[in-house]
């Protein structure tokens, strides 16, 4: 039976012979009240600590999460500060590296110029030396050739000049000089 039928049907029955449609019987109230007290007491006794523990754990967990979040926040702030500091360092390092590169480039350039100058001077010196040597060799060859031609000319001249009369003159001259040399 539904509630509506109970309410509607309440007018049809004798209130003295039936239960009040609103209030239960007294004994029922007493038994019910006692049962409720017992049930709530049991619940309080046995389920209460577990519930309290669960609430306490939840609270602790939330607190831990809050603490973790706080720590993460401070770490993030620290990291941000570190990154900002590192960024500053990177800029300084970049400047230092650029300056060092400029310095090295300047040194290399100066060294290269000096080496190039030395090589040019060396090449000039060698070229000059080779030119002098070549000139000397050519002079030597020329002298040898002149000497050879002169020797041939002397041989021909002597062969043409030393005739019989000259031979006799040379012999007489030799005899005279040897005799005079004593």
């Amino acid at each position: 039976m539904n509630l509506f039928a109970v309410i509607v049907g309440a007018g049809d029955v004798d209130p003295a012979q039936s239960l009040n449609w609103l209030f239960p019987a007294t004994s029922e109230l007493i038994y019910g009240g006692l049962a409720s007290i017992i049930i709530f007491s049991l619940i309080y006794k046995f389920a209460g600590p577990a519930a309290k523990k669960g609430l306490a754990d939840r609270t602790a967990k939330i607190q831990a999460e809050l603490d973790g979040a706080e720590q993460a926040l401070s770490s993030a702030k620290a990291e941000a500060a570190e990154i900002r500091r590192a960024a500053g360092d990177i800029a300084a390092e970049r400047q230092r590296l650029l300056a060092e590169a400029d310095s090295q480039a300047s040194a290399l350039l100066a060294d290269g110029r000096a080496r190039l100058s030395a090589e040019i001077a060396d090449m000039e010196s060698r070229a000059e030396s080779e030119i002098m040597g070549m000139s000397g060799r050519m002079g030597d060859e020329l002298r040898v050739e002149v000497g050879r031609l002169s020797s041939e000319a002397v041989d021909r001249l002597v062969a043409d000049t030393v005739d019989g009369a000259t031979q006799q003159a040379l012999i007489e001259d030799f005899i005279r000089k040897v005799g005079a040399g004593s």
Binding site: S151, V158, Q168, F174, V178, G179
Partner: protein, 175 residues
């Protein structure tokens, strides 16, 4: 050949020529032959080739000197060549000449000239060399066209060089 053996040959030749009474002539002929031997490769080769029989080498000597030299000279050279000592012939002869000159208390004067010297020139040259060296000389004239002109005289260790060749060489070296 050892020095003693060369000396032995020279002494033997000297004694034979002196015994024959032709020492001066033989000595002169031997000296001339030695100079010819030194200047001729063909002659040296013919007289020293051991593949050629000794009789053949001696026949070469006789054909070269026959009618131009005394029999003693030909026999002496043939003896040395036949005994297989042709290579030492100039040295043996030079020793003989020295020995002959020493026996007469003379110094050997080897005179090289491009042309032949007359007897008068030889006498005057011998006198001049004697004056220059302080010893009488046994003049040995060698005709050597390579000196071109003038005279080169060698007496012992002394060389008097009046040759055109030497003057030309000096001139060439200066050039």
């Amino acid at each position: 050949m050892s020095d003693a053996r060369i000396e032995g040959y020279a002494r033997a030749l000297f004694e034979i020529a002196r015994a024959e009474g032709t020492l001066d002539e033989v000595e002169d002929e031997l000296f001339r032959f030695a100079r010819s031997y030194e200047s001729s490769d063909a002659l040296r080769s013919a007289l020293t080739d051991e593949m050629v029989p000794a009789e053949r080498r001696q026949a070469v000597v006789e054909s070269l000197l026959g009618g131009k030299s005394t029999a003693t000279t030909i026999q002496l050279i043939s003896m040395v060549v036949g005994s297989g000592r042709g290579r030492d012939l100039p040295e043996v002869i030079d020793r003989l000449v020295s020995r002959a000159s020493e026996s007469k208390d003379l110094a050997v004067a080897e005179v090289r000239s491009a042309v032949a010297l007359s007897d008068d020139q030889q006498q005057r040259l011998a006198a001049a060399l004697a004056n220059a060296t302080g010893r009488q000389v046994n003049l040995k004239v060698v005709i050597d066209p390579s000196i071109i002109g003038g005279i080169v005289a060698t007496v012992g260790d002394t060389v008097i060089d009046g040759s055109v060749r030497t003057r030309v060489e000096e001139l060439k070296s200066r050039l």
